[in-house]
């Protein structure tokens, strides 16, 4: 498409919109009638070969909610100075932090939430994708293939759970088999290990839960599963143990620059300096680029909702069962499916909805119902009755629908790891290696030669899970430390010892939900009905605060001691 053609088509979508080329990027300005027009224009602009799409189109009266910023305000970071500042502690930011910790540098990670990994990185499928649906030549494809292969070693070093349980891409129409040559051809450019094709009969034998009228499947043994927040937390713990500083509840609000170089970074906890800034801010990565004066892309948030089923539904599959994602290609999702999680539950989803909200985690019953409807066509025994919870996350998609991993265009001391949508979890370890290399180059240009960190330890302290030991080992463990024998969370069988460990590991956070993500307490079928008070009591003891001051997610669990409320009422 030529620029002229683009201009014409934009005008025909919205007469009040206009396109221009500024500094190699397509810039869209003006007004649209609806958000879908905004998206349509953005997608069109991406078809023009440029350095990126800056879509500033707006719809009157349509405004997204402001970014969540913690109410904490202090001078914790005021006038400090670091070699490297990583913005965002998602899986990408934490993987980068760990790579940076291999060097003797002062590195800080700033994260606006109360814990690491709270946004997209804890709100996804947890799949380590084989990458079959990715187009050769994209950065997504490159990083996915490399990231996938790094997971075996990473899980050994960091002690997170990882299983290559394979995935089935089910053919629901006989003509799907005609695509076979395409898949085989794609493999030449996008190496995928061990791919196999199964006939209808073989599929029925291997995955009995799949509808009998399905026409066969492609099997991808390199597909795996992890618990995504366990991965993120493990990376952060390791980076922290190797000397990286984490500043939580810290939001980047602005940046000051001079002569194409960022000179300082302002947050709600003070303004500080950093030689290199790394943008790993997920759905806000274009805003961060803007603050740095280096915006050449636009995030259009895409929300995905998922349902989690009771372990009882785990019999439906021990792998991943997905439909061939034909209809979804234009939506850039993997079409979703049934994913057996690392903990034995079943995940159904995700959906894909374009939204103006960058962090709206709300769910709705109609979306959940549509997920069940869609996927029960592949697996008829799927039922909403076993649904124990649901959640949603937001993908940081750009109009180019590809990752951005590069140095700044106009700013000399920034590296972007932006637009990391799916399969970003899979790709993150590979992205981190490249980002680290780019950051070291920038430092070198500034005259800073980073030396290796000799005391770097790639391993994390071991996680103890008594319920996974055999009976004799478990008994021996409890004899040594009785806290591992006292069960607090009955559904997930989590002991007091594991909760204590979660509260004393590196980078522990005294919050109900942080403890939950570190050891699964309150995560089972009763969803904390029984163990919430007991877990809160352990946090209050460990943190030395009254139970009424224990936090749950961004708020307080309880609001005050009973006695206080009674006294107040007496005064009235």
């Amino acid at each position: 498409m030529t620029f002229r053609a683009l201009e014409r088509r934009i005008k025909s979508i919205s007469p009040e919109a206009s396109a221009s080329i500024i500094d190699g990027c397509v810039v869209l300005k003006g007004k649209c009638k609806s958000y879908s027009q905004v998206l349509e224009c953005g997608r069109l602009a991406a078809r023009l070969h440029s350095d990126g799409v800056v879509n500033d189109l707006y719809v009157e009266g349509l405004e997204s909610k402001p970014m969540y910023i913690s109410s904490i305000k202090d001078e914790e970071l005021e006038a400090k100075s670091f070699d490297v500042c990583i913005i965002g502690a998602g899986v990408v930011g934490c993987a980068i932090a760990r790579e940076m910790s291999r060097y003797k540098l002062s590195t800080i990670v700033v994260e606006k939430e109360y814990d690491v990994g709270l946004r997209a990185s804890s709100r996804n499928d947890g799949m380590i994708h084989p990458g079959i649906d990715l187009r050769p030549g994209q950065r997504k494809t490159y990083y996915n293939a490399r990231g996938n292969r790094l997971y075996d070693q990473l899980s050994k070093d960091l002690g997170f759970d990882f299983v290559r349980n394979g995935s089935y891409v089910v053919f629901d129409k006989a003509w799907n088999w005609l695509l076979l040559p395409a898949f085989i051809f794609r493999r030449i450019f996008n190496p995928i290990d061990g791919i196999r094709f199964y006939s209808r009969k073989k599929l029925a034998k291997l995955q009995g839960s799949v509808a009998s009228w399905q026409k066969g499947a492609m099997y991808l043994p390199s597909s795996g599963i992890v618990c995504p927040y366990q991965v993120t937390i493990s990376l952060a713990e390791n980076a922290y143990s190797n000397g990286v500083r984490f500043s939580l509840d810290t939001a980047v609000l602005g940046m000051q620059s001079k002569d194409g170089e960022i000179t300082s970074i302002s947050t709600n906890r003070g303004t500080f300096k950093a030689c290199v800034v790394i943008n790993a801010a997920g759905v806000y990565s274009d805003i961060i680029a803007q603050m740095a004066g280096d915006r050449f892309f636009t995030i259009h948030p895409r929300k995905g909702t998922e349902a989690i089923l009771d372990k009882e539904a785990g019999y439906l599959t021990s792998s991943v069962v997905a439909k061939i994602p034909l209809g979804d290609v234009k939506n850039h999702t993997k079409g979703g499916g049934l994913v057996r999680t690392i903990d034995g539950n079943l995940l159904v989803g995700p959906s894909a909805e374009e939204t103006i909200e960058r962090e709206d985690d709300s769910t709705s019953s109609s979306i959940i119902a549509s997920l069940f409807e869609k996927h029960s066509r592949t697996v008829p025994a799927l039922t909403q009755r076993l649904d124990i919870t649901y959640f949603s996350g937001t993908r940081a998609s750009t109009y180019e629908e590809d990752f951005i991993v590069r140095k700044g265009r106009r700013v000399s001391n920034i590296v972007h790891a932006a637009g990391i949508q799916s399969p970003g979890l899979t790709a993150s370890p590979a992205i981190a290696i490249d980002v680290c290399r780019l950051a070291l180059e920038i430092l070198r240009a500034q005259g800073i030669n980073a030396r290796p960190n000799d005391s770097f330890n790639p391993k994390n302290p071991q996680r103890i899970r008594p319920s996974r030991l055999d009976d004799e080992q478990r008994d021996a463990l409890i004899q040594k430390d009785p806290a591992y024998g006292r069960i607090v969370c009955r559904c997930e069988e989590i002991s007091e010892g594991e909760i204590r460990d979660a509260l004393t590991r590196p980078l522990s956070v005294m919050n109900m939900d942080s403890v939950k993500r570190r050891c699964r307490v309150t995560m089972g079928r009763c969803q904390g009905g029984f163990c919430t008070p007991a877990a809160a009591q352990l946090i209050s003891k460990q943190a030395g605060i009254p139970m009424s001051k224990v936090r749950k997610a961004r708020g307080y669990l309880a609001l005050c001691p009973v006695k206080e409320a009674q006294d107040e009422n007496q005064e009235l």
Partner: protein, 414 residues
């Protein structure tokens, strides 16, 4: 690994487990009780209100008091009580069952000839009833809120909406307002309250707490702490009606929308389940489809009154002791319910039975109702009810002796 052996093992020391242990011990068996918590009493420990024991002791006792009476009885007998002990897994053995338990003393195995499950129930969660919106702090199950207030002395919030008019919801409405939390109202999706009439009077009317029938909570709003909920009117199938939504500001949502029997431990043994109770099929002695495996109290069926729990559990304990000593279970006949009833428990009767109580709930309010039990065309029990409500569990006595034919329930409104 330590291994111990008993005639009868009881998992759970709530009222059901304690009553079963007492009667099994009195029948001459060696008995052990295993409980996850540090103190006996189960859920009664946190029910500080009164109303327990009216039928059995003709007194209005509090939950902890009732539990104390039972645990005193337990301690007068040669019953071993293992507290802080969690039953992690159960295996069937040729001579009975092995229970694998975790406690601060170690991981141990307890073998028994008969096993009584008295593990109670858990509450349905907000997710299971499809409350959507955001996930701020301030959303609790009623039992969790009750535990926080009555055991830990912390108030979940200052301005609460209660969803569900079952007894636990009603009791929590009163409890919270007594402790200084403003209760905006109790919302109930059905057109009838689910709790007992006396609780509506004593817990809501006396405290001027409004009850909104045919209304449910559809959405939570809030970023840090709950700021408001969206409520909507419901149609006859309890689905929210679009266009009737209203925003109610509050900082706490207490959910009391039903209990689920806890039987996860024995499901892997292949015990036969009843869809109507979502619990194992049991006979009049609370024995499941597996010989020697019993299931009593609220994990068998959710009872209204603890008195009934104790009474049925005593019958269970006695029988478990006999079965442990190789008594034969006797042939089973099926109880066939009628369409008006939500469930009937027991679902099978072992013959010869003599006089047996059947417990049931109607699906909806029925007036002027006659229920008849018959076997082979012969009437073996009949009872007239001026009114039957889903909120109230009822029973009917039958006497079944000779016939091996199934027992049929039939009813009609007159």
């Amino acid at each position: 690994m330590r291994t111990r052996s008993f005639d009868v093992a009881v998992i759970g020391s709530g009222p059901a487990g304690m009553a079963a242990a007492i009667s099994a011990s009195d029948e001459g068996s060696s008995v052990v009780i295993i409980d996850r918590e540090g103190r006996s009493g189960g859920v009664l420990k946190q029910c500080v209100h009164d109303g327990f024991g009216l039928e059995r002791f003709h007194k209005r006792l509090s939950g902890p008091w009732y539990a104390q009476i039972e645990s005193d009885e337990v301690s007068r007998r040669p019953i071993e009580v293992h507290q802080d002990t969690f039953a992690s897994r159960i295996e069937k053995t040729p001579s009975g069952f092995s229970i694998f338990c975790s406690s601060p003393r170690g991981f141990e195995r307890i073998d028994c000839a008969a096993l009584i499950m008295a593990t109670g129930c858990r509450e349905r969660t907000s997710k299971q009833i499809a409350i959507h919106g955001t996930r701020p702090a301030g959303i609790f199950n009623a039992g969790t809120a009750q535990n926080m207030v009555n055991i830990h002395g912390i108030l979940p919030g200052r301005k609460a909406v209660i969803l569900g008019s079952g007894d636990i919801g009603l009791i929590m409405a009163r409890r919270l307002s007594l402790e200084g939390c403003q209760v905006i109202g109790v919302y109930e999706a059905k057109s009838e309250p689910s709790g007992l009439a006396r609780n509506i009077h004593q817990c809501l009317d006396d405290y001027h707490i409004p009850l909104y029938l045919g209304t449910t909570v559809t959405r939570c709003i809030g970023i840090e702490r709950l700021e408001a909920v969206e409520v909507a009117k419901t149609d006859s199938s309890m689905h929210p009606i679009a266009g009737t939504e209203q925003i109610v500001s509050c900082d706490t949502l207490v959910i009391s929308v039903g209990l689920i029997a806890e039987n996860e431990l024995i499901k892997p043994l292949g015990v036969k389940m009843d869809k109507a109770t979502s619990a194992p099929v049991t006979d009049q002695y609370s024995m499941t489809s597996i010989n020697g495996l019993f299931c009593t109290g609220n994990c068998r069926v959710v009872f209204d009154l603890v008195d009934t729990v104790s009474k049925t559990s005593m019958i269970c304990g006695r029988r478990a002791s006999q079965i442990a000593r190789k008594a034969s279970a006797g042939p089973a006949v099926q109880v066939v319910s009628c369409t008006d009833l939500a469930f009937v428990c027991p679902q099978v009767i072992r013959m010869p039975a003599g006089k047996v109580q059947l417990h049931f709930r109607p699906k909806k309010v029925l007036r002027d109702y006659m229920l008849t039990a018959s076997q082979d065309g012969k009437i073996i029990g009949q009872k007239y009810y001026s009114v039957l409500r889903p909120a109230q569990m009822e029973d009917i006595e039958i006497s079944a002796d000779e016939s091996q034919a199934e027992i049929r329930l039939e009813g009609e409104s007159r």
